[in-house]
Symmetry: C2
Subunit: 436 residues, 2 copies
C-alpha cells in the first residue's frame, strides 16, 4: 500500500470532511426534505437546447468576428487561448449590466468561479502573504487556499457588511509578524452561507480601507444577479477607481452549472520582480494554462449562445430564475415567521436574518447545531440543513445553521419548516421540560 | 500599480516564455510553413454534431443507467461529482482497448490531461518530494510542477526508452539529500517532443525499478492510440502488478480538444497520515473539487456520445485520425531522407529519429537551434519549428529541433522540408564556405 505522510491536509481537510459528511447524510436519508445544498434550480437542457446555443454562437463568430464557417468550427472544437474565447461577450455584459468598463483582454474565462479563485490566488500570493476572508465563508475559497498552503485569517460579517476595524487590525497584525494581508475574499451580494448584503456605505469604506492598507479585494459576485432590479447595489468593481478589485463570476447560478464556465476580471497592471509590467489577467491566464490549458470552448460556445439569446446580458439571462429564487426566499421567511417567531407558536431563542436575494437564510438556535443534531434531524424529523460551523475557519458558528431554498417547492418549504420547528421544539422545549 | 515581488516564477517562467516566444514568432510570420504546434488535426464539429453526441449520451443514461429523462438532463446540466460522470465508459474502454482492469471508482475525469497531471501531483507530493521527468520533456508537466513548487530532476531519454541507471542514481542522490523521488513522469508511447517509444524490455525494467526504489510512474498516454494496431505495446499500467502506475489520458488527440476532457486512473490504496486508507482516486477527486469542482458534464456528455458511437473504444475513436498521422509521419521521414540524408543532397551532421507513431520527429543539427536561428528561419526561409531547448529543464537540446507534422498536408510537408534544407544549407554549408 502507498503511504502518504504529509498531505498538506488534503484528504483530512475539515472543509472536505464537512462536505463529505453532508453528502453522506443526504445519501442515507434520501426522503428527507433538504435545506442543505445550495444548488441552482434545474432547467430543461437536452441535445436540441445545446445545439441551439452552439448554432447561435457559431453564427456570432461568423458575423461579429468575421470567421469563415470552417474557422468558426475550429475555434469551438480545438484548443484555444488560455484566456478564453467568449471574453468579448463577458466584457460587453459587464458593461451592459453593471456599467463596469473592462476590455476583453482584462477577462480570463475559467472552469467556473472555483478555478477563477484558485488561479487568482496562485497568481497573486507569495510566501508569507495572508488571505483574509469574510466569515462565515464559502468553502470553495478555503479549499483553494488550503491547496496552495495560503494562511487564512477570518474577519467577521456584521448585519450590513463586514467588520472593517477587525480587517484593519488583521492587516496590522500581519505586518507586525512580517507578513501582509494580500487580499480579502468577499461576496458582497447575499453571500454563501449567510445571505449577507454589504450596504453601499460598507462597500465604499471597504474600498477606502483596501487603498489605505494596500489590499486587494477578491469580489465573488455569484449571487449578484438574484437581487430585485430596483434593489441592486453596484458591485465593488464598479466603484473601484484604484484597481483594487478582482471580480470573480460564474454562469453556474444564472444559467448552466454543467457548463463549468466562470470568469475573472483583472485589468490592473502588475509590476513583476524583473521590472516588466503586464496586466494581471495575462498572469492569471498564464497560471491557468498550467492548470487546465483553457476552458472548454464547447462549453464556452453553449454559454456564449445563451448570452446572445438574451441580448448579451447576464442579468437578463438570470432574470426568470432570480424571480423564482426571491419568491422562494420570501416564502421561506414567511414560513419561519409563522411557525417560529416568538409571537406565534415560536421557540425561544430562535432568530434569523432577512436576505432579499441569494439562496440562503442564517438561523440562530439556542442549541448546538452540530453533526449530532443533524443526524437526529434527519433520522427522526426528516429534515436536512447545514451546520454553520462548516463555514468557519475556527470554532465559530456552533449555534447557527444555514437554510438553502433555491430549488424547493413552496409545499416542501412549508413542510420542511414544520419539521425543523418540530426538531427545535423537541431539543429546546423538550430539554427545558426535562430540566424542569 | 500593483507590485508582485516573489512570483514563484509564474510570468517569468522559462516554459511559458518559450511558448509565448513561439506564439509570437508564429503571429509575425503567418505565411510560414509551421512544423511547430503539436495540434491535433481538426475535424468537422458544429451544433448538429454536438447534438448527436449529447443525444446518444442521454439515451445511454436512460437505458444503461436507468435514469428517467428529467434525471438524465439534470446529470448533464447540473453540478456533478468531482470524480466525473463518464467514469463507467472510460473504465470499459480501458478494458476493451488495453486489457486494463479498473473499476469506474478508480477513474477521475479531469479538464484534459493537464488538470490530471496537476491534481495528481498535488495529491501525491509532500514537501521535499522530487519529480523525475524523462527529458526532453512535455512542458505541461513542468508547468504544473512549477506552480506547485515541486523540484524536478531530468532523466535522459535513450533511443529505446529512458536511462534507467540515471534514474536509479537520481533516487539515490535524493535520498542522500534527505529527499525522495516520489514519481517519474513518462510518456512511453511516442512522447512529445521526441517521439521516443519505450520498448517492452524498458517498460518491464522501469516497473521493476519503480518497485525497488518505491517510486510511482505517472504514465501519460496521450499518443498511445497513434501506433499501428500491430505495433502497439502494452501501457505500463497494463503491465503493473504492484500498483506503481498512475495513468493519465486525454480525449484531445483522439477526438475533440475543445471538450477539454481527460482522465486519471488511480485505483491503488493509499494510507494517510492519520491511519485511514482510501483509493488514490478519491484523494485526487478531493483535490480536483478545490481546483475546478468537476469537469463540465456537458463536455463529458459530448465525449461520452463519441465513445458510444464507436462501440465504447478509444482506439476505434482515434483510428481514422491515427492512420492519417502515421501517413504524415511517413511522408515527413521520406522527405527528410530525400532532401537531407548524407547520400543525397544532404547536409553533413544532420540526423533524425524514425518514430512510427505520435506527432513528432527529433532532428539533430550541427548548429545551435536557438531563437536567433528560428527568427532567421521564419524571416528568410519561411519555415517554423521548435527549438528542443524548450523541452529541457537545464541546458540540453541546443543542437536539436522538433518537427511536428500532425496537421500539415503532404505538399506543405515537402515544401517545409525544402525550406528547412535551404536554411541548413545556408547556415551549415554557408558557414563552411565563409570559413574556407
Amino acid at each position: 500500500m502507498l503511504s502518504i505522510d504529509h498531505l498538506h491536509g488534503s484528504l483530512t481537510d475539515p472543509v472536505l470532511d464537512s462536505v463529505n459528511f453532508l453528502n453522506e447524510v443526504m445519501g442515507r436519508y434520501p426522503d428527507a426534505i433538504s435545506f442543505a445544498p445550495g444548488a441552482p434550480r434545474p432547467a430543461p437542457f437536452d441535445d436540441s437546447v445545446a445545439a441551439g446555443h452552439i448554432r447561435r454562437y457559431l453564427r456570432h463568430l461568423r458575423e461579429a468576428r468575421g470567421a469563415d464557417p470552417e474557422e468558426a468550427e475550429r475555434l469551438i472544437s480545438q484548443y484555444g487561448p488560455a484566456r478564453g474565447l467568449i471574453n468579448d461577450l463577458v466584457s460587453q455584459a459587464l458593461r451592459t449590466d453593471h456599467g463596469i468598463d473592462v476590455a476583453p483582454e482584462s477577462v480570463v474565462i475559467t472552469v467556473g468561479a472555483q478555478e477563477g479563485m484558485f488561479v487568482t490566488l496562485r497568481a497573486l500570493f507569495s510566501p508569507g502573504d495572508v488571505l483574509a476572508v469574510a466569515e462565515p465563508c464559502f468553502v470553495g475559497i478555503l479549499g483553494a487556499a488550503r491547496l496552495l498552503d495560503i494562511e487564512v485569517v477570518p474577519v467577521s460579517e456584521t448585519d450590513d457588511g463586514i467588520d472593517l476595524d477587525q480587517l484593519a487590525g488583521a492587516c496590522r497584525d500581519a505586518r507586525a509578524r512580517g507578513q501582509r494581508v494580500r487580499a480579502l475574499y468577499v461576496a458582497p451580494d447575499h453571500s454563501n452561507p449567510s445571505g449577507t448584503l454589504l450596504d453601499l456605505r460598507c462597500r465604499r469604506e471597504l474600498l477606502a480601507l483596501a487603498h489605505r492598507e494596500d489590499l486587494l479585494l477578491l469580489e465573488d459576485n455569484a449571487y449578484a444577479f438574484t437581487a430585485a432590479p430596483d434593489q441592486e447595489l453596484p458591485p465593488l468593481k464598479a466603484l473601484d477607481g484604484g484597481g483594487r478589485v478582482v471580480l470573480i463570476g460564474t454562469f453556474a447560478k444564472v444559467c448552466l452549472p454543467g457548463a463549468r464556465v466562470g470568469y475573472v476580471v483583472a485589468g490592473q497592471d502588475v509590476r513583476h520582480g524583473d521590472g516588466r509590467s503586464a496586466p494581471l489577467a495575462e498572469l492569471i491566464a498564464a497560471v491557468k494554462s498550467m492548470v487546465t490549458v483553457n476552458t472548454s470552448p464547447v462549453s464556452q460556445a453553449v454559454i456564449g449562445g445563451m448570452l446572445l439569446e438574451r441580448g448579451g446580458s447576464i442579468s437578463a439571462l438570470g432574470e426568470a430564475r432570480a424571480a423564482e429564487y426571491r419568491q422562494n426566499l420570501r416564502h421561506l421567511l414567511q414560513a419561519l415567521d409563522q411557525r417560529l417567531s416568538p409571537g406565534s407558536t415560536g421557540i425561544p431563542g430562535v432568530s434569523w436574518n432577512r436576505p432579499r436575494g441569494g439562496f440562503f437564510v442564517r438561523v440562530r438556535v439556542p442549541v448546538r447545531a452540530d453533526a449530532e443534531l443533524l443526524e437526529l434531524s434527519a433520522a427522526e424529523f426528516g429534515v436536512l440543513w447545514t451546520p454553520m460551523t462548516h463555514f468557519h475557519v475556527g470554532d465559530g458558528g456552533t449555534n447557527e445553521l444555514r437554510l438553502s431554498c433555491s430549488y424547493l417547492s413552496h409545499a416542501h418549504i412549508d413542510e420542511g419548516v414544520e419539521r425543523l420547528a418540530a426538531l427545535l421544539d423537541h431539543v429546546v422545549c423538550g430539554a427545558r421540560e426535562r430540566n424542569a
